[in-house]
Amino acid sequence: MRTKAYNLIVLALVMVTGIISPKARANSATSEEYQVKAAFLYNFIKFIDWPREKIADSNYTITIGIIGKDPFGNAFNPIENKHVKGKDVIIKRFKGLKELEESKEKNKSVPHQQIEEIRKCYLLFICHSEKQKLKEILNMFKDHHVLTVGDTEGFLEAGNIIEFVMVERKVRFEINMAAAKRAKLKIRSQLLRLAEKIIEEK
């Protein structure tokens, strides 16, 4: 009985804190939300199978790329140096196209080296800052089997694969199966089951 009561109390406290302190969470909201998102990113790799040629390209590493204005902060710290599918997980941050435009007005085109890097990524998180450049970015690694994840509104419609959404203050995601197929990625049913919404091929 004591255990039951205790459990109830704990549960109640958790719920209360969650409800009554949205503001308090606001400061660290970014970080907390993105910590979950970072963990999700990491976990996505486990539930998605890349085609063989992609794996053959990158021998020992799985690179998670982040393009644009990085909202994760140090959220990737617990993930770094972890192994997924027998490979090291490396986080690489790329400057967004808007940023590049602003800083390299004289040199309008995206550096070739960066494009190559992005193409090698298994997963590319496209930050909110790249909302306008989605088409451009997608074109950069067409046929390079890159899982694109983002939390920008209308992200999937832009032809990306996974989009984080907030449902009842929890991080959820939607999946664009058509895009995934295009990228020749196999998303496991377990992951699909958890998706809030799945956009099928038209």
Binding site: T3, K4, N7, A39, R188, Q190, R193
Partner: protein
Amino acid sequence: MPIMRNIAIKHKLILIIMLTCISALLLAGTAFIVWEWSSLRQAIVQNLSTQAAMIADNCKAALAFKDIEDAKGTLKALHVEPSIVFGGVYTGSGEYFAGYYRDRIDSSVRPSELKKAGYCFEGGFLTVYKPIILDEETIGTVCLRSDLRPMSVMLKRNAGIIIAVVLIVSLIAYLVSLRLQRIISGPILSLAKITKAVSEEKDYSTRAIKHSNDEVGLLIDAFNEMLEQIQQRDMELVDAKGKLEVRVEERTAELTTTNKQLTQEITVRKEAEKQLRKAEEKYRMQFEGALDAIFVGDAVTGVLIDCNPAATKMIGWEKSELIGKHQRILHPPEKIEKGFSKTFKLHSNNEQGQTLETQVITKSGEIKDVAIKASLIEIGGKKVLQGVFRDITENKKAEQRQAQLLEQLGKANKELKDFAYVVSHDLKAPLRGINTLVNWILTDYADKFDQEGKEHMALLSRRAERMHNLIDGILQYSRVGRVQEEKVQVNLNELVRDVVDMVAAPENITITVGNELPTIECEETRIAQLFQNLLSNAVKYMDKPQGKVEIGCVEENGSWIFNVADNGPGIEEKHFDRIFQMFQTLSPRDEFESTGVGLALVKKIVELYGGKIWVESKVGEGSTFLFKLSKQRMAVKNSKPKTDAVTRR
């Protein structure tokens, strides 16, 4: 198993079968239950583990993406398994993530109880922990808890079934064993029964029946064989016993006989010993008490060994003085020859047992006449001569006296006989003169005498005649034994015929000779006298009108017994002896003119021939005179019998 020892083989078999059966069943049942229990456990663990694995797999994504609802949904699938009371998903750091409860919340697993992996049976539950591994990384744990009650119910049910099966099978086994045990116990029991019968009744002729060819069959065969052997032995034994009994009986009989014989022998020997002792005593008594002197001397050396009191009395020496001395000291020197007395020599050689006369000399030197009868005897392996000495000094003197007396007597007798003869002879002459004178007077003075005178004269003549006869008789009597006649062969038939003629019996008396008379050797005159006297007596005293006299002879024991029988007046028995005495007559003399000499003479003659005469008579019926003469004495020698007629003298 001490209980097993005393129960029948039938029950033993059943017990063995039952025990085996039940223990096997119980073992099998237990093993089955244990196995089932363990396999059930394993199965339940496996099952639960699989469930947990499935849940773990299904919850991977949910946990990875923190989708509690999804996890719950996954866990909800557990409700199809009614035994699962709780299912929970915990995060990698051990925090409760999602859960499923069948009925009660208290069956849940607290994070503190959480284990990484494995299972445990606890509090009636099986709890399985399964790690949720995502890409080689443990991201959480699934915990499933199953209620074990159904399992235990099932186990109990199975145990019950097994027990029931055991009971039923035991019952069947009992019934089956009850029947099957007979296969083994039947023959054994019948064998045991037969064994008992055999041992109780000692009947070795019974046989066990063989039912099978197994070991029991072999046993029965062996038993029968054994019985046969025993029977054979028994018979042999009985036979042997019988033989033995017979032998024992025989031996016993033999032994008894031997024993009896031995006893008899012992008795005889004892008797003999007794007799011997008695004889010895008697001998000693006789020896010591003998009136005759007895000397015992060594037959070889002549040394004296023993003597009796009579001997010491006779010889005057003491016994102690005599013993060890030589026998020659007993005799005077003239009776000694070569160191021994003559009689000793003779006795110890061939004159043994003879009576020899000699002389002894006493201590005082007196000479005594003795008669010695000596015999050689053995005493203790030594030859000794025992001599009996009789002092005959007095005898010798008496003999001399007797001889003198006899001589005198003979002289006197002869004188008397001569006197009697002379007297008789001389008396006859005047008597004859008297008779002649009487005859003369009667002739000459016949006319002068009257009747009375004539009768007196006749009386005188008869008296003179009797006197004459008397004298004749005496003469005859005296002659018998005095005068020796020549003995001749006499045919008695002829002699008797002559005598009969001479007797001239009256007409009314017949004299017959019954049978053939023998011929004997004798003095003819005497025998004639004998018969004459007997016959004339018979004729003389005959009182019957038809007189009969018969002469006969029979042979008996080497003797002749003659008889002269008449049918006269007979003689009273009291007179049987008197009639043979001199001058004895039974009737007045005048009646028969009897002298009383006849029978005395007859007796004398018979006795002269060593015979015997006697009379047998019955008063009024007659008398028989019998005399016996020895055949030997009167035997006829081979000479012709004299047939001359007897002449009266």
